[in-house]
């Protein structure tokens, strides 16, 4: 099952979630700018996707996130809380350098693991 919501938004604007549902594994790909303005909508759609799929593993793919502030931290903390309640867990994948600096500053990888090869700035010096 693959669907793309919020298609009225132009590329690079707002935020898109692409859901890929394979058995009990759900992948959500976030696109656009993840700030307070966009996070509310993302959280609501994430909740809907989780309620529909009831996955044991949730992968949040950040490859399309062009900007993220601490609103993104609230989103992934919420995701992990929901996944633990379902008896599963969440992982992060493909995090661009700017978002990774925000996650690093918050120490978020102690709560939600970064999937192997999950950072898109590998080889880049800090």
């Amino acid at each position: 099952m693959l669907w793309k919501s919020n298609q009225q938004q132009k590329e690079g604007e707002g935020l898109d979630i692409i859901c890929k549902d394979a058995g009990r594994e759900l992948t959500l790909t976030l696109r656009g700018e993840l700030d307070h303005h966009g996070a509310k909508d993302v959280m609501q759609r994430m909740e809907l996707a989780l309620d529909a799929a009831l996955p044991l593993k949730l992968t949040l793919d950040f490859s399309g996130v062009s900007f993220m502030d601490s609103s993104g931290i609230a989103v992934v903390m919420r995701a992990q809380r929901r996944m633990r309640a379902l008896g599963g867990g969440a992982v992060l994948r493909q995090i661009p350098p700017q978002a990774k600096r925000v996650f690093d500053a918050a120490g978020i990888f102690r709560i939600i693991p970064l999937e192997e090869g999950g950072s898109s700035d590998e080889g880049k010096t800090e």
Partner: protein, 148 residues
């Protein structure tokens, strides 16, 4: 004695969340004349986003209010950013600056000030109950060899 900036921008907007993106884009465009790296630019945009979001969420919880954003450049490649509101003020600034502390509920992480502190060289917060809040952040942009 107040040192005059070499250049500055000042913009004002109502506390609508759609203006968060505008605020950080405006500062990023202004800061570009300091020839920052992508990482530096990302840090600045993130810090501006946090400060403006705080004003939108906390200063004016029930109504729309005025937010003034100012970015100035001083000698030595120093960027100073001020975000001012005339909202309800922060009751306990020390507490508000603690990591994970938030009055914003599940939608907020409580990491805004922590991010501002770690991404900028200096952060000061002045707040008065019922009068408003002024957040001032400074970041020195490294001079790069490629610069003339």
């Amino acid at each position: 004695m107040k040192v005059k900036p070499n250049n500055y921008i000042a913009i004002e907007f109502p506390s609508r969340s759609v203006n968060e993106g505008l605020a950080r884009a405006a500062v990023a465009a202004f800061a570009a004349q300091l020839d920052p790296t992508l990482d530096e630019l990302g840090d600045i945009k993130t810090a501006v986003s946090e400060a403006v979001t705080n004003a939108i969420v906390h200063a004016y919880p029930q109504e729309l209010g005025r937010i003034a954003l100012r970015a100035s450049i001083f000698d030595g490649n120093l960027l100073e950013i001020t975000v001012r509101d005339w909202g309800c003020g922060i009751a306990d600034v020390e507490k508000a600056r603690e990591p994970l502390y938030t009055t914003g509920g599940e939608e907020r992480s409580g990491m805004g000030f922590t991010i501002m502190e770690s991404f900028m060289d200096a952060l000061t917060v002045r707040s008065k109950n019922g009068k408003g809040t002024v957040v001032t952040m400074k970041r020195r942009i490294a001079l790069r060899p490629s610069r003339r």
